[in-house]
């Protein structure tokens, strides 16, 4: 087994600016060797430690779906040293990748279930991966109804407009987009995600809710679900935590005896309630 601290080297294939203020970019990476790509065998919801060698490394959720073959994508918000360097990178630059890491969304357990995806802001990346995976013709029959509720502060912050428009046209997925305040030209919903969850009122029957977003959105959306009969076991979250190694060794992402990097990042609300409130 290769040394897990040595990154696989990839090249930047494309860069897309995702929002109006231009602080979120999706970077597409191309593996240099076919074997490297094959060994990067991932499922939606996993993450990778990506690095600009010489500047540093950071954990980022994988935004592409394994069904989009040939490359992998990461959506990166400009926040600290390393993410700012990613925003300065050019096509052809070398990027180190270690992964896939973490447990990912339980795609096997989700089979046969209705899926309710609730996302807010730029935490939508691994949700994009999951939805694309489910909608792929090889997998669509394995899953029930798919409902997506995706909220943003304003229309300029909505990520992945190209795929969202495609999904809106399909009849095997319900897409509900919302922004916080009225805006000229916006024809979808207006209101916080929790209010839209209340309005849509997804049925908990044979269903799983998958929630990613800012903590306040998660809390309020979960409250609404619980009110209409959802159980803690049916609600899945993906956590973020400061990490260095991503493989359970550097220590800092522990919540009690669990490590977000290897035991998570996906936990059910039932699991989270058993863990100390240190995340």
């Amino acid at each position: 087994m290769p040394n897990p601290y040595i990154p696989i080297l990839t090249k930047v294939k494309s860069i897309i600016s995702e929002n109006k203020v231009n602080d979120i970019k999706t970077i597409e990476l191309q593996f240099q060797k076919e074997d490297d790509y094959k060994s990067f065998d991932y499922i939606p919801g996993q993450f990778a430690e990506i690095s600009i060698i010489g500047k540093g490394e950071c954990p980022i959720g994988i935004a592409s779906s394994p069904t989009e073959e040939g490359s992998i994508k990461f959506t990166i918000k400009k926040m600290g040293t390393v993410t700012s360097m990613f925003h300065r990178s050019d096509i052809g630059d070398t990027i180190g990748v270690r992964g896939p890491l973490g447990n990912g969304w339980p795609i096997e357990e989700l089979k046969g279930k209705n899926i309710v995806v609730i996302g807010g802001g730029f935490a939508f990346s691994t949700l994009r991966s999951l939805i694309l995976y489910i909608l792929d013709e090889k997998h669509r029959k394995d899953y029930g109804n798919v409902t997506v509720i995706y909220g943003n502060r304003d229309s300029g912050e909505v990520l992945y407009r190209d795929v969202l428009e495609e999904w809106e046209k399909r009849d095997d997925i319900d897409v509900v987009l919302t922004i916080d305040r009225e805006e000229e030209g916006w024809t979808r919903k207006v209101g916080f995600v929790a209010a839209i969850v209340k309005e849509v009122a997804p049925s908990p029957d044979n269903a799983v809710a998958i929630i990613c977003g800012p903590p306040i959105m998660i809390r309020t959306a979960v409250d609404e679900l619980v009110k209409i009969g959802w159980k803690d076991e049916q609600i899945l979250n993906s956590l973020e935590m400061r990490m260095k190694c991503g493989i359970g060794k550097c220590g800092r992402c522990n919540i009690g005896s669990k490590y977000v990097c290897i035991d998570g990042p996906v936990f059910s609300l039932a699991e989270l309630k058993k863990m100390p409130n240190e995340y």
Binding site: P4, D93, K249, C250, R252, E278, Y279
Partner: protein
């Protein structure tokens, strides 16, 4: 008789015999403190010590070490992996608690899907010469964590200090290979072995610090939210001496040291500590453990609750370094007492009810 005798005056002979084959680490006095250092001259080896200030952990998991080196060729990066991980190491004079810590480190770094090769390769190539403790320190408590001043776990050769000479016991195949090279060792007599056993018993009886850790783990599991943590954290100044000197602490940070002008550099790992607020601080500003109370609690819970739940044994070897090192005397013995008082209070309340 399998046991041999090594005269203390022959340590230099031993060193000269094996120094070409092994990187030889032994206790050495550096600025008044004992630590395990790479020895280049047998005279540097210090034989009269209770234990080192910094644990021998840092031979296998140094405070700062290279993960890999790299250089840029245009936009391409070439990664140069470490070649020295295959070097044979010999660590002389490791106390039983520290030798046992190697077992814990080994299990930790091998745990799960990902193997920490940087540590494990070095561990595999290391031969450990352990040495029994005739005079446990007042702060030592290895017998409370399943250890013993003469425990031989994780050693390849084990020495008993019999005054002018050591009794040499071969524990593993690796140890056998080493002892074979020292053909000049004399055979031990029955009396020497008995003397070693008597010293072991005497040492065991001399412990003053004793804990019931089964009870500690139970109380910890039930008292994450107990107000006692405020009391425990109150005097802590967050200096992190307890974690930096702990033979079982494994946390590290990863940093790229870039030599911009020469288009090269290295990725290093460097000891980190859960006692620092920066340890968990996220770029967004959110911090899961922003207060001292959470950080103090994390250290104690990790050693005596989280670690046992993952590995079915305590994450502490009883070396007592954190007790000695704490500059404000907020030391483990007092912390454990406070934790056990929770249970006593509860029982007292039950009795009164």
């Amino acid at each position: 008789m399998d046991e041999k005798l090594l005269k203390k005056s022959d340590i230099s002979k031993l060193f000269n015999e094996v120094k070409d084959e092994y990187n030889f680490y032994a206790p050495k006095k550096v600025r008044g403190n004992i630590s395990f250092e790479l020895i280049s001259d047998a005279k540097e080896i210090e034989l009269d010590y209770l234990n080192s200030k910094v644990p021998p952990k840092d031979v296998l998991f140094p405070q700062k070490e290279t993960i890999f080196e790299y250089h840029y060729e245009g936009k391409d990066v070439i990664i140069d992996e470490r070649k020295d991980l295959e070097d044979k190491l010999l660590i002389f004079g490791v106390r039983p608690c520290d030798a046992y810590s190697f077992k814990l480190l080994e299990d930790f770094f091998a745990f799960g899907e990902f193997q920490d090769d940087v540590f494990l390769k070095k561990r595999e190539n290391a031969t450990i010469i352990g040495i029994g403790c005739n005079e446990p320190r007042q702060s030592c408590f290895c017998t409370s964590v399943g250890g013993h001043p003469y425990q031989k776990e994780s050693t390849d050769v084990f020495l008993s200090d019999l005054g002018d000479y050591y009794l040499v016991e071969t524990i593993t195949e690796k140890g056998k290979d080493l002892v074979k090279k020292l053909s000049w060792l004399t055979d031990a007599k029955k009396g020497d072995v008995e003397k070693s056993k008597a010293l072991a018993k005497q040492a065991e009886e001399s412990f003053t610090t004793k804990f019931n850790f089964d009870l500690v783990t139970k109380v910890l599991d039930e008292n994450f939210e107990n107000p006692v943590w405020e009391e425990i954290a109150e005097s802590c100044i967050g200096c992190s001496s307890c974690t930096f000197l702990c033979p079982t602490c494994t946390c590290f940070d990863v940093i790229d040291e870039n030599d911009e002008y020469n288009h090269r550099g290295r990725r290093i790992r460097i000891w980190d500590t859960c006692q620092s607020c920066l340890y968990t601080l996220e770029t967004s500003g959110h911090n899961p453990r922003p207060e001292k109370i959470q950080r103090c609690r994390n250290r104690i819970m990790h050693k005596f609750s989280y670690y046992p739940s993952n590995y079915d044994r305590l994450g502490c070897v009883g070396c007592g370094r954190c007790i000695v090192a704490c500059p404000v005397n907020n030391e483990l013995r007092l912390i454990i007492d406070k934790i056990l008082e929770i249970e006593q209070k509860e029982e007292g309340e039950k009795a009164n009810a």
